[in-house]
Structure formats: C-alpha cells, structure tokens
Subunit: 410 residues, 2 copies
C-alpha cells in the first residue's frame, strides 16, 4: 500500500484525540469497526454503573428519586447531550427507545398540522422508523404514508397536504449524509414539519438540529451509552407550548406527583417524558457524556473524515481486483463516519474478516459496513482492517465451500 | 403492646423466608417499608450488573446481542417472570415502561373490539394508567373513557359498547385487592376485554392472570428489579395471532433483521416488543428472578398476611387516641401487601417517622403508606415501625410549628 502501517502509526502519534483511546475497553487483537452499531465501553462507565447500583439504589433506596436526581435524569441527561446535536438546554429529553421517540415526534407533528394528512418517509430510513409510523397510521386512520426513494424525490412529494417528513441524517446502510439545514428549509418552506433521525450522526460529528422541528436518536452507537441506552428526543422551542404526543405518561405531566385525574402536559420538553426512566441504563450514558464534555468536535470530524477517506483509499488500492464496490459517498462532506462496500459474497467475507479480528458488520444482501468512532479508532486500525480485507479477498479462502459452510454454522 | 418485640423476634426466628433477608442490602438502622414503591437491592444484583457491563458489553461488544442473548432478553426474562403471575412460557414480554405497556394493551384491545368504542377505567387507577389512555383516546378520536369510582360501579358501566376494562388488582393508595377471576369473568361475560395492572401485586403474592386478556406491571416494586427496571406485558394466547398494538417497532417484527419494508408482527407475545431493549436495566431484574425461583409463594403470602395484620393490630392498639384511620381493608383476603392509614397531619408524621429510620411514604392529602416485602421485612420490623408511629403521634413533637417547618424544608 502506498501508505504504510508505519505512516499510520505516525498519524496516530500526532492525533490530538489519541488520549481518549485508553479511556475505552477494547478486547486485545480486535479492530472494532462496529461503533456505529454499539459503541465501546468506557472505563468510567463500569464504575459509574456500579456506583448507581450500590450507592444510589442500595444506599438511598426510594430516596434516590430525589437525592440522586433520578426523577430529572431525562432532562439533566438531555441538557448534557444537547450540545452534541446543536440544541440548547431544556430542548432534549432522554428516555424510552428511538422507536418510541419517533412515535412521540410523529404523533405530535400530526396534531400540530391537523389539516394535513400525509407523512413523508424515505425507504432508506431504518426499518423501525418505517414500522412505527405504519403502526401509528394503521391505528389513527385517515393518514397516508408517502414513501420516497431518496432525498431527490423529496420536492415532488412535498404537496400541501404533507404534515411532516421523517428522514435520517445519515443512511444506516450507505453512510450517506444529508444537508440537514438545506432539507429542513425545503420541508418547512412547504409548510410541513421536519423530523430528523440522528441515530447514525450523533457522536459521529457535530450535529446541528437548527431549524428542525423534532429530532430523535439513540445513544448507544457513537455516543457509547451502552447496549439499549435510552434514546433522545429534541423538540424545537417553537413547539414547546403546543406539541402533544400520543404517549402521555405521568413523567410528562405538569405535576406528576399531584396525581390529578387528567393529563396536563409539563412545560417544555419534559412533556415528552412518559414512564419511569430506566435509571441504571442512564448511568453509563452519563459517564460517557463526561468524556464528550472534554472532546473537541472539530477534531472528531477532522479525524472521522481522515479515517474514512484513508480506509476508502487503502481498500480501493489493495482490493481493486476483487469486485468490491464503494457504496458510501466519495465526497467526505456527504458521508457520515461509516464506509460501506458491496460485495456479492459479503457474508462469508465479513465472517472471515471477523476471524482475523477485524469487526465490521454485514447487512443482507451484500453490504459490508465499517464504522469509525474517532474517539477510539486509529489510523493503524484502518491500515490493519484494509490489509485484512485484501488478504481475505486475495486468498480466496472464503470461496472454499467447506470454509463457507463452517462460517455459516459458527 | 400485647405482642412484644421479643415475640416478634421469635416469629422471625421461625420464619421460613428469614434466610432471604440477608440476600438484600438494607441500610443500618432502617425499617424499609417502601418496597411497594422501590424494592431493595439484592446482593447478587450488583454483581450481575457489573458482569453484564464488563464481560458482555466490554468483552463481547456488539456480539453480545447474540452471544449474551440480549436480543431475546424481553422474552427470556418474560418466561422467568411468567410463573409469578400465573402465566406460561411465551406469554410475557419485558421491556419499556408500564405506561408504554398500557398503551400497547389498550390499543391492541381496541383493535380486537373495533365495533366497541368505550374504555372503562377506574378513578382509583394509578394516574399514569389514566393519562396514557387519555392521550391515546385524544389522538385516536371516536372513543370514550368511562371512569368508574371503584369496582362496585363496574356492572353499571359494562354496556355492550365497552371494548376493554383497565383496573389495578391492588389499589396503590389503599392496598385493597380485587378478585381478579371474578372481575375478569364479569368483564368477559359482557364481551369486553380485561386488562389488569399488576404493579402492586406482582411479587407481593402469587398472582393469577387466568382468563385475563392482557396484564401489565412494573418490576421495580416487590420484584426488586431496580429503579426503572423494565415493565412486563402479558397477552393471553387467545390473542397471540390477532392482537396488534399501535406501537410497532422492529423488535416486534416477525423478521427484525430482514429489514422488510412493511411491519409484520412476530408470532406470539414478541410482537409487543418495540425498540431496542435496555440491556443494563435487565441485569438486576434477572438476578432478582434467580432469587424468586427459590421462593415458595405460599410462604410469601402467608407471611405478607401475618405482617400486615400484625401491623394493623399493633398500630390500632398503640395509636388509638391519635386520629389514625385504617384505609386498607381489614380482611386480609381483600388486601395486598400494603397497609395505609389516613391522618390529617400525614405529611409531618411521615417525616418524623423517617427521622426515626422508619420509611413509609406519604400521598397527598393525608395518606400514610407502608409496604411489606416479605422477602426482607420481618416481624420485629413491624414492631419497630408501630412503636415509632406511636411515639411520633404520642410525643406530639410533630405538632410543634418550628419542627414542622424544619421538616417541610429538609
């Protein structure tokens, strides 16, 4: 390869984010390029979780709701997360799952635009985004889902009966990144509300929700909140007085402990809280946010672009004869922190890569996905991953029927 | 008191459940009678949570979804919980919150009875139960909530347009317990579906969902699953093929990783799963279920009846002059594992009790609630609590304006 592993080690040595790598637990001999699916465990997350269990639950018991601020976790954690997506304090609430958060945002949008009956959704949206909208519309009746194939089809879909548009900033398959400001302006210009799914962008770089109406996302990918860490929901302040979700639980009530007979939404974004927060699942997320507070997001983005660009260059250089096709945008401005290639034998190729300690993931029918979390992935990792991929494809071991059978059963 | 503390210590010595007390962490000098709100931490829960964080998340990273069974946690945990509520395997799914679980059950019930447009709900239901139904009905349109004041009003409310009835087996304020089999038979006899909220019964004694259509509940009270532990939802097998909730996320899809364009519900109760499970919040719940597997529920109920009956007797004996009024049913068959008294100065009385290490809780305007978790509360605790209550009421310290002011600000 034109760039050697030694070159990459030199890049790592100069990396201003290098110091964060040691704050994460990564198994020996593993190049973990699945941080776009589940972020790595930070060393402080384990201690923080143990402390919440032993000191807060064990030591304070039910008193922890006040003494340890459990009751306000959805908001205090939201305030800490807000800067990462360009939001301000009191605009983000954390809890539930991304699926539930989408139900909240879409149902609120429909009530804010009662005369409009169409929800525009992209076929590239993550499946659960589509499923929950289908479930909502199936029960509500009188609404139509207008599926588009990519943002180019957006303008044609933006008729004056569109209530809201639900899109992902970064495509979970291709890593393609949309211009949120530009798309939001178009959608709002058409009188519809813009809802962003930030699952694959939050923590990958500095997100800017800007003029968006709502945004949702998960915290267990680039944000390293832990498996099943709670989701977040951003609501633009312009909707804080009027937006009402279909999900109206006591933690979203204006006076949750007054036990009033009728639901009365809390002021601000708290109204999007529903049930009792999953306290333990907040612990590692808050430990991770301690790390994020020390991170320069401009450095994160610069490194992300460098890592993904280098991976594309090295793979294309060393794997040219092997039928790989780049699926991610070549222009780094149009790319998240993920690189995807297509290969007809993608599944056994990925299994063979994992056997070599390089962890990406495979999405049927032929997609190889590699995520680059700039806090703990380095340039030598990129070199190792590209080298392993070239070896796997070059050795043709994976073409052997017995080997492929073994991969399929392990 | 006619029964001495020594008598109570003798009862504790003979208690077949005594051995479980040492498995829980209870702060020194505390009589914890709030297990009906947040159950105590078991010693194994802390270790189990630490193991999930370090070994599963840290060691397996994204591989934990398969290697550690995270993906199936809602069902495997549900199967373990099922016997405690009289359900069988494949009938209970764990996840989300009670509020969300109620939305699932009620929305599914409405679709199963499309020609009926009334939801019967009790004003004694926990507020969030009422709020989420209000939110659902407010968005769906065309439905009516028929609030009744107690189960005596049920028959009059059961007209032939009632789709479902949502009741709590145990009243969170009074501890009054309904006869679920009898009520379910009446509701189903009227052609409506029965949905039980088991928040205050699961883990307090052997519940029997029997012929109920749906049941929901939390796992952080008597089940000791930890603060914000995920909720459970039971669906009677008669509805497994047809029931569809309004909340249709990818974890409830028949093929969640096939990424099909349209939602297609999974077989069985898995269809009520929605988003990514909060993995860490399942850890202490499963540790607690390890304990429950060793527990004889007949012993739990016998001890619960003995504890609550003794508390009523001792309090009435020693506090007779002080204006306490028993709110809970005197008949143990009609009572959960909780005793509530009314007192006009309930708030300062409870604060003074807590100052003495006896932890109950207060619900406005005048309710003193005491929960008795038979796994870790003993007869001497009951004696100590009754003694402290008599002291507080007898000393009249709490009538002192300065003391009450101090209590109000601390």
């Amino acid at each position: 390869m034109t760039i050697s592993r030694a070159d990459c080690l030199a890049l790592d040595a100069d990396d201003p984010l290098r110091r964060f790598r040691d704050e994460f637990v990564l198994p020996d001999g593993t190049v973990y390029l699945v941080g776009n699916s589940l972020g790595a465990l930070s060393r402080t997350a384990a201690a923080a979780t143990a402390r919440v269990v032993a000191e807060e639950w064990g030591g304070q018991l039910v008193g922890g709701w006040n003494a340890s601020g459990w009751f306000d976790l959805p908001l205090t954690t939201g305030d800490r997360l807000a800067p990462l997506i360009g939001a301000g304090p009191g605009q983000v609430v954390v809890g539930d799952t991304t699926s539930i958060a989408i139900v909240k945002a879409v149902s609120a949008a429909l009530r804010l635009r009662p005369e409009r009956r169409v929800i525009v959704s992209d076929t590239a949206n993550f499946p659960t985004d589509r499923y929950v909208v289908q479930g909502l519309v199936g029960s509500l009746g009188g609404y139509e889902i207008r599926d588009i194939d990519g943002p180019d089809a957006l303008d044609a879909a933006l008729s004056d009966d569109v209530a809201c548009v639900l899109l992902s900033e970064v495509d979970y398959r291709t890593g393609a990144r949309l211009d949120t400001a530009e798309v939001t302006a178009r959608v709002r210009g058409a009188g519809a509300l813009m809802i962003w799914d930030l699952c694959h962008s939050a923590g990958a770089y500095q997100v800017d929700v800007a003029e968006a109406d709502f945004a949702v996302g998960c915290t267990y990918k680039y944000l390293n909140g832990g498996p099943g860490a709670p989701a977040f929901l951003y609501a633009n302040p312009r909707h804080h007085a009027d937006a009402e979700s279909i999900l109206t639980g006591w933690h979203g009530h204006a006076a949750p402990f007054a036990f009033e007979p009728a639901y009365r939404p809390a002021e601000g974004v708290r109204r999007f809280s529903v049930g009792t927060p999953h306290v333990l699942s907040f612990a590692p997320l808050n430990a991770s946010l301690d790390i994020w507070e020390r991170v320069d997001m401009a450095q994160v983005r610069a490194k992300s672009v460098a890592l993904t660009s280098l991976f594309i260059d090295l793979v294309e250089e060393s794997c040219a004869p092997y039928g790989l096709e780049l699926v991610s945008p070549r222009d780094p401005e149009r790319r998240g922190s993920q690189v995807s290639f297509r290969h007809p034998d993608g599944y056994p190729v990925m299994r063979a890569l994992i056997d070599r300690g390089v962890h990406g993931d495979f999405r049927a029918p032929d997609l190889l996905r590699f995520g680059f979390a700039p806090l703990y992935i380095g340039f030598a990792d990129v070199h190792d991953a590209a080298t392993a991929l070239a070896e796997v494809l070059g050795k043709e071991l994976w073409r052997d029927e017995r080997y492929r059978r073994r991969l399929a059963v392990t």
